[in-house]
Subunit: 313 residues, 2 copies
């Protein structure tokens, strides 16, 4: 039986994960989520990407932002601000409950995998949404304004500083989470979701052994470009390509990040002209509608990926 | 200059503290608050009595309950319930922010005194509202249903179990908080607020040295009965008198708890008939309107106490 192992970051990854979840039974999909942008706010452990995927698959994500809870209030955060705390990271009251419980369970000795499973069950998420690791890995962004945490760069500074290097502190001591490990052993296909290659996918691949094991797997491996017509659907991927590689932002630059790792690359219809250039990198190229606005778009993209992956998909 | 040291529990103590705060400058009043009913909910340190006094003096207490924040929402708690957490202890979203910040600051190594001072400043509380101790003291109620935490007895079981004994775990290793210590050294009068003698005032007096030092202080010491016409204004004081002393609930039984400690006892007008019986216990008795519904009531009671205390008040 085919087993899809999807690597995901936040909003873009969650969209494609939802597409898969709508057409695959729970025992055929594992979504491994980046945790290097986890952070601590007000003493609470926040896992933004895990929550985005969990809320999306559980049907409670804020449809306007793609992250956070639908219809949330911000009374607690408002009070925290009044008490002198920094409130640039927006945490709603319903969202806070998740961070409060996660922090409590982690302090009691549960692993992030166990906590995530408990939360997913309670939110009605039937597919496996798992952290990439139970170890602390933290993205540090070296910029022209100095080194800063991912959330500081991403939320507080709105990706404005020019990035010189991205580090994943702790990655060298991390190991894949148990469910990630299990999925790696059984995967019949790997899907890299249209997430940021440098900030969302790279930390997963930075866990010792993960990149090599994926390379060695004799299964189709497809990446979906998060860059369409030279622009990122969301976030700083396009800007980072220019700052980190010097190349123009585009699906070709994304493909170059996955060269030697992926067997297939899916690019957007509007980027069809780049297909041959990517093919020269040694990947099969498929053109699809990759912009996912409606649930139908997400399902359609998931279906075309399964078709592309063949019997393993 | 006179210095009032008031010992307080939650709602009743907060009412009288507000009366004093309205007529005394900040440097003439210290409200020492019971912390033995502090507890941990969802991994967060909750100090119910401190918060009740702080919210009351800061003008943000829920006027309908006497505790919690005015106009609070309960979205976070609702989500915690959905996630499987117990939600019998009602924590509003604005209230939660206080517990989140307190927990964070305590974890960072600040004392409860320091955290309380920070919170009070932010809430605009100008008078000293201080914890009785920075050490963990926890009330355990031994009942016919077994031993339980104070909040379990008080909130979850609504004071229904029959109480055999009340213990203050950790009290023997506790010391007065620095501001309590300071106030003890300078007090020209002691006021025991109309709080529960067994659950709110006893833990303060159980801190090693506190009872003896108050006895030795050559200043007027007045207790206000929380029992009026045989009934507690709020909470289980009347029921506890019967269960723990076998006496009928009344201001005489309260006076007996403070015998040898207080020089004066203030009872409600409706209890004037008991004045001579209390006088026989060795205390001067004053009759006043002790039921505090309006702010005027609170100020009036504070004023009559100051008059009673003479030059020290």
């Amino acid at each position: 039986m085919s087993q899809i192992l999807a690597l995901a970051g936040g909003v873009g990854g969650a969209k494609l994960a939802l597409g898969f979840a709508r057409i695959l039974p729970p025992d055929r999909l594992t979504v491994v989520v980046n945790t290097a942008d986890d952070d601590v706010f007000h003493g609470l452990h926040v896992s933004p990407d895990l929550d985005t995927v969990m809320y999306t698959l559980g049907g409670s994500v804020n449809p306007e932002t793609g992250w956070g809870r639908a219809g949330d209030s911000f009374n607690s955060l408002e009070t925290l601000g009044r008490l002198g705390a920094e409130t640039w990271f927006k945490l709603g009251d319903r969202d806070l409950a998740v961070h409060i419980l996660r922090t409590q369970l982690l302090r009691e000795g549960h692993t992030l995998s166990e906590v995530t499973r408990h939360l997913c069950e309670r939110f009605g998420v039937r597919h496996a949404v798992v952290p990439m690791t139970d170890h602390p890995v933290r993205t540090v962004v070296d910029t022209d304004e100095g080194a800063m945490s991912f959330q500081h760069y991403f939320v507080r500074r709105r990706c404005e500083p020019r990035v010189r290097e991205i580090r994943f502190n702790g990655a060298e001591r991390a190991a894949p989470s148990p469910w990630f490990e299990f999925a790696l052993e059984r995967a019949t296909a790997i899907v890299i979701c249209p997430s940021n290659p440098f900030l969302s996918v790279a930390p997963i691949l930075a866990i010792p052994g993960v990149r090599d094991r994926i390379i060695e797997l004799d299964v189709p491996k497809v990446a979906v470009s998060p860059i369409v017509a030279g622009k990122a659907i969301k976030g700083p991927a396009a800007k980072l390509i220019q700052e980190l590689t010097g190349e123009p932002a585009g699906c070709v630059a994304v493909a170059r990040q996955y060269r030697g790792l992926c067997t297939h690359m899916v690019i957007d219809r509007s980027d069809g002209a780049f297909a041959s250039e990517i093919a020269r990198l040694g990947m099969k190229v498929e053109v699809a509608q990759t912009i996912m606005e409606t649930e139908e778009d997400k399902i359609a993209l998931a279906r075309s990926l399964l078709a592309l992956l063949g019997p393993g998909g």
